[in-house]
């Protein structure tokens, strides 16, 4: 799979989209919950999912090493790239 840790600047059209690209931290939790680990999907407990999300977010220095992630705190994480998205065609929605 692709690297999970990377810079939070996306200034080239072919920049690798690592975790800091995501608009919301919940995207990370959701994809790990549904799809990961790749070889054994859907095997982690909710506690493990939050712990793993926290670990990956802290590796990217988006949260502190001792910050606790749970159903309340994870959605409140402000991702570095959050304000850079444009909806392509609002009339399609």
């Amino acid at each position: 799979m692709l690297p999970l840790v990377g810079p939070s600047k996306f200034d080239r059209i072919d920049t690798m989209k690592t975790v800091p690209y995501y608009k919301y931290a919940t995207t990370l939790f959701d994809v790990v919950r549904r799809s990961m680990p790749y070889q054994m999907p859907k095997t982690l407990t909710n506690d493990e999912l939050y712990a793993l999300s926290a670990y990956i977010l802290s590796l990217n220095k988006i949260i502190g090493e001792n910050d606790v992630m749970d159903a309340k705190t994870l959605p409140q994480v402000k991702m570095p790239n959050r304000d850079n998205f444009i909806i392509w065609a609002p009339d399609k929605i």
Partner: protein
């Protein structure tokens, strides 16, 4: 020299009454070995002749490594508009699930009045529709974001799109049965594969022309295309057409799932990113002649290719043989169907000199396939040449494909022979 539409064949050739297109004189027939013995028995499920063994999909992961895999349609070896099921492109992010159709269930729930469960068997009792539609990976052709031309076949560049006749039940029929809570603005589709591949789709699209497809070109959908049922969203990014669909949950806002928030979102040159770029926009490319073909001699050839648009029907295709300096209108093969492949054709007399073949399409919404300079101005290009012909430097490439036909070459070992190989021409414009 492009010969325009509806021109008489003999006139196009200019060879006179005794001439033919290829110059081969009629010879008396002889009895070949296969004419002198009984043939093989007809098989239960027929496959192409052994002489067609090279007409196959190319695979990105032939050694079954632990990652995704793609198989691309050999457009340069096909004709017409229907992609045979065995050659229909396929992308799998985690391998093909081996689904027992008797146990597969589709649940529609969330913001509905009455959640319901459907099976292959129960869906077979609902009113069905049959429609011709293309599917295209939104990364199809993305190598062409390269700042230098990529030397690759139409299969490598454009093989992640295909066209089939789909039969199934309109999603609107099922949603009529479950009822929709007015708060529902999106639906969340999820597949039965190991990744539970998932996307958010506007309810607006679901009520327009979305289908739960069960059949592909008359037979059950192929495993690589979503067996036993898939969500079909005509004209929208391939990835949104959830394969092996098992869940449709109606929700009030998009889930911001991995595939919409990351993989199928595009970085723009100004540092902004597009979300929810659903429509596969108007596009065309020439398949004959194209990279890998050789032209034996100057003379008559038919330029032919594929055009399609996620907005609706193709309205016009122009073809150029001089790199876009002059254009002529190609004939469109009827029927021209919305959100489906349209075959275009143009007679061409090659004078043996270098030529650059291009096509450009328009659709009924008025959208036009962008020329390379305007596309690059809006969407950017890479800063270094793309060296991996299977890479995805960005998404949603729909600009022009140029095939350069080289001048006459000398081929070793055969004396002086006239041969030309279409290659991808410089596109920097």
């Amino acid at each position: 020299m492009l010969l325009g539409r509806g021109i008489m064949f003999a006139g196009a050739m200019g060879t006179g009454a005794a001439g033919s297109l290829t110059g081969a004189a009629a010879e008396p027939l002889k009895d070949d070995p296969w004419s002198l013995e009984m043939g093989s028995v007809v098989p239960a499920y027929q496959v192409p002749s052994r002489f067609e063994k090279d007409v196959v999909r190319t695979r990105s992961n032939p050694n079954n490594e632990f990652r995704n895999s793609h198989a691309r349609t050999p457009h340069h070896l096909l004709q017409g508009t229907v992609t045979p099921n065995g050659l229909f492109f396929s992308i799998s992010h985690s391998g093909l699930p081996d689904i027992d159709p008797a146990q597969h269930k589709l649940v529609i729930h969330g913001l509905v009045k009455q959640p319901l469960v459907y099976t292959v068997e129960s869906l077979s009792r609902y009113p069905m529709v049959t429609r011709m539609h293309f599917l295209e990976c939104s990364g199809n052709g993305a190598q062409m974001f390269s700042n230098e031309p990529v030397q690759a076949t139409a299969q490598a560049l454009h093989g992640l799109c295909s066209n089939a006749e789909w039969t199934g039940v309109l999603l609107s029929t099922l949603l009529e049965e479950t009822g929709i809570d007015p708060k529902a603005k999106w639906l969340f589709g999820e597949g039965a594969d190991s990744l539970s591949l998932h996307r958010s789709v506007p309810v607006k699209k679901a009520l327009d022309d979305a289908m739960i497809a069960l059949y592909q070109n008359g037979e059950r959908i192929q495993p690589g295309n979503g067996y036993p049922m898939r969500l079909l969203l005509p004209g929208y990014q391939g990835n949104m057409n959830i394969k092996h669909v098992r869940r449709i949950k109606l929700i009030d806002q998009p889930a911001m799932s991995f595939y919409e928030a990351k993989t199928y979102s595009q970085i723009l040159p100004d540092g902004k990113m597009w979300l929810f770029h659903f429509t596969m926009e108007v596009k065309s490319f020439i398949t004959q002649p194209s990279f890998g073909h050789s032209l034996k001699e100057p003379g008559y050839y038919e330029i032919s290719g594929i055009a399609y648009s996620g907005n609706g029907r193709i309205s016009k295709v122009l073809v150029s043989a001089d790199g876009g300096k002059s254009w002529a209108q190609a004939a469109l093969q009827e029927p021209v169907l919305p959100k489906a492949f349209t075959r275009f054709r143009m007679p061409w007399r090659w004078d043996g000199q270098p030529a650059v073949l291009q096509s450009r399409a328009w659709d009924e919404s008025g959208a036009v396939q962008p020329l390379r300079p305007e596309f690059v101005a809006a969407r950017g290009q890479t800063s270094t040449p793309v060296t991996n012909p299977l890479g995805f430097p960005n998404q949603h490439y729909n600009s022009i494909t140029s095939w350069g036909v080289d001048c006459i070459r000398v081929r070793r070992g055969h004396g002086r022979r006239r041969n030309a190989w279409p290659r991808q021409a410089d596109q920097r414009g």
